[in-house]
């Protein structure tokens, strides 16, 4: 069987669209867990989740740069881009769901699942492409990312395996193109998001213009997520990426251990400074809140709707930034800080006192108003640029 997952340029477009969607899908859960922590408490956990969250934003931007380099703009307002939570992401032997929820031991376990390093199960079927496993319940997955092309039965084991498939596809297609004296990197460089407008967001953006820079961008995503080494053997320093930074998986591991890693540590035994993770200092958000949960509280309902509306507008600005208006990212950063305030307000408000249950952002995006919103965002962008 052909083990290559990407065989045509359309396959590659689809996988990169899925990559952008996948990176974004982790943001609402990380963001909600982060803001569920009481102010001034759990400083270490707060720092870890925040660092991972902003790196996911970088990953989304890097994936968008790769897609733009291939001559296609991402569309973060396409139908189904925002998953309905709880949702599924890639998993191995046992499936797990990702939820909008408070920071709890269970949530931390989910975060570890999201970021887990590649570890293909031993009994991998020989009919599966590299990094994939067979699943019986394929139809349950909602995200495009875990619907590999042309197969109804297998999925990627880890997000790293997913990116490996994209890198393989780029190498294959670019080699093919060069044989004909062409290249797949036909995108206009002006669409590349650069460090001029992307700042304080989990690292430097890589502008993608060719195979080398595309692979560098995708490797950065992989390494920040899961580290450079494969899990399985407990060897020294496998927690760190090639720049010496701890990968997401092991950053979250520290929260389970209540202890930092330092250079020379084995994954099973961090020896750095100890710290406390206090799960009681967290607002008890209703897991996967929906607008309908706030039906009896008009103020909460309005605030939750306002948040969703603001988030949708924010996605519209991101779309425009990925389509040649990258200067809008400066304003988008300000919008992000506002979104943080709106989300925090929701999270700190009780829905009911007994049982003690708090509200939270629902991330329900109204698909029916998308067309008009796109127009509106487009007009706003033109207006702002003229100004």
């Amino acid at each position: 069987m052909n083990e290559r997952i990407i065989n045509t340029i359309d396959d590659l477009y689809q996988m990169l669209d899925a990559a952008i969607q996948l990176e974004h899908a982790t943001i609402p859960p990380y963001l909600t867990a982060l803001y569920s922590i009481h102010p001034e408490t759990n400083l270490e956990a707060t720092a870890v989740i925040r660092a991972v969250l902003v790196e996911e934003m970088l990953h989304m931007t890097l994936s968008a740069n790769v897609l733009n380099a291939l001559g296609r703009h991402p569309n973060v307002l396409s139908e189904g881009f925002m998953p309905s939570f709880p949702t599924y992401l890639p998993d191995g032997e046992k499936d797990f769901q990702v939820s909008i929820a408070a920071f709890t031991p269970e949530t931390l376990e989910t975060f570890l699942n999201i970021e887990r390093p590649s570890k293909p199960p031993k009994n991998t079927s020989s009919t599966c492409p590299n990094g994939c496993i067979t699943r019986a319940n394929h139809a349950r997955f909602h995200l495009d990312a875990i619907k590999p092309l042309k197969s109804p039965t297998y999925s990627f084991y880890s997000i790293g395996d997913f990116y490996d498939a994209i890198i393989d596809g780029i190498k294959f297609l670019e080699t093919q193109a060069r044989e004909c004296g062409e290249t797949i990197f036909i995108g206009d460089p002006k669409y590349q998001v650069s460090n001029k407008y992307y700042y304080s967001g989990g690292g430097e953006v890589i502008e993608v213009t060719d195979e080398k820079s595309a692979i560098a961008a995708l490797n950065l995503i992989k390494e920040q997520g899961e580290g450079k080494a494969e899990l399985g053997e407990d060897t020294e320093n496998q927690e760190f990426d090639s720049e010496g930074e701890l990968s997401h998986y092991y950053r979250f591991k520290q929260l389970q251990f209540g202890r930092y890693y330092q250079k020379g540590d084995r994954p099973s035994n961090p020896t750095g400074a100890k710290f406390e993770v206090d799960f009681s200092k967290v607002y008890p958000i209703k897991t996967n809140p929906k607008l309908s949960d706030f039906a009896e509280n008009p103020t909460l309902l309005k605030a939750a709707k306002d948040f969703n509306h603001s988030y949708q507008e924010f996605l519209g600005i991101i779309n425009a930034a990925f389509s040649g208006h990258q200067n809008l990212l400066l304003g988008a950063v300000c919008d992000m800080f506002r979104l943080k305030e709106f989300a925090s307000q929701l999270i700190r408000n009780p829905i009911s006192i007994e049982p003690n249950m708090h509200a939270g952002p629902t991330f329900e995006i109204d698909t029916s108003s998308r067309g008009s919103l796109n127009d509106k965002v487009g007009q706003t962008c033109v207006h702002k640029e003229r100004a």
């Binding site: 001034e40 605030a303 992000m336 800080f337 700190r348 408000n349 006192i353």
Partner: protein, 172 residues
């Protein structure tokens, strides 16, 4: 709802009337418990209960907003004992700071050793309602993003306190 929860709920109602921010905005600061505890620790439970009791009576007797506001002005703000406490609650919500009560109040109603001017916490400073009121970020915290200063403030009154006519306990 137990007595403690009930009193805290009353404290939120009172705070809303005093600050002109609704319960959603007050909860949204994450400071309700901290401020309620600070108030109790410094002026004592008896004074807090007296304040909440007067507030409840004013609320239940008011047929309309004007009558309610008059009641608040006369029975609470104009009261020698309760007035300074209520003014401190306003300042607490707006600035996150507990201000030492006036000397005359301290001499008349007891001096708490904790009654000094202080920030309840570093979070209370950043959560002061004054920042929401003027749509600015607290200096040195909550960075609003590069260039945000070129935009006009977006002041809205979505979270204003609203008068709601109370039904008296007897008539329930």
């Amino acid at each position: 709802m137990n007595t403690q929860q009930n009193q805290q709920q009353q404290f939120i109602e009172l705070s809303g009337a005093l600050t002109d921010f609704n319960a959603f905005a007050l909860h949204g600061t994450g400071q309700v418990e901290h401020y309620y505890k600070t108030l109790n620790d410094i002026v004592g439970r008896d004074t807090v209960e007296q304040l909440l009791c007067v507030f409840q009576t004013v609320s239940e007797c008011a047929c309309d907003e004007q009558m309610f506001l008059t009641g608040i002005r006369q029975q609470i703000m104009g009261d020698v004992k309760l007035g300074p406490v209520a003014r401190n609650i306003i300042k607490l919500w707006y600035t996150g700071t507990w201000y030492q009560l006036p000397r005359t109040w301290r001499e008349a109603y007891g001096k708490s050793e904790q009654d000094k001017t202080f920030f309840v916490s570093s979070a209370s400073y950043t959560e002061g309602l004054l920042w929401q009121a003027i749509d600015a970020n607290p200096s040195g915290a909550k960075g609003p993003g590069y260039g945000s200063w070129s935009e006009p403030p977006r002041i809205h009154f979505d979270n204003s306190w609203q008068f709601v006519k109370q039904q008296s306990v007897q008539s329930k």
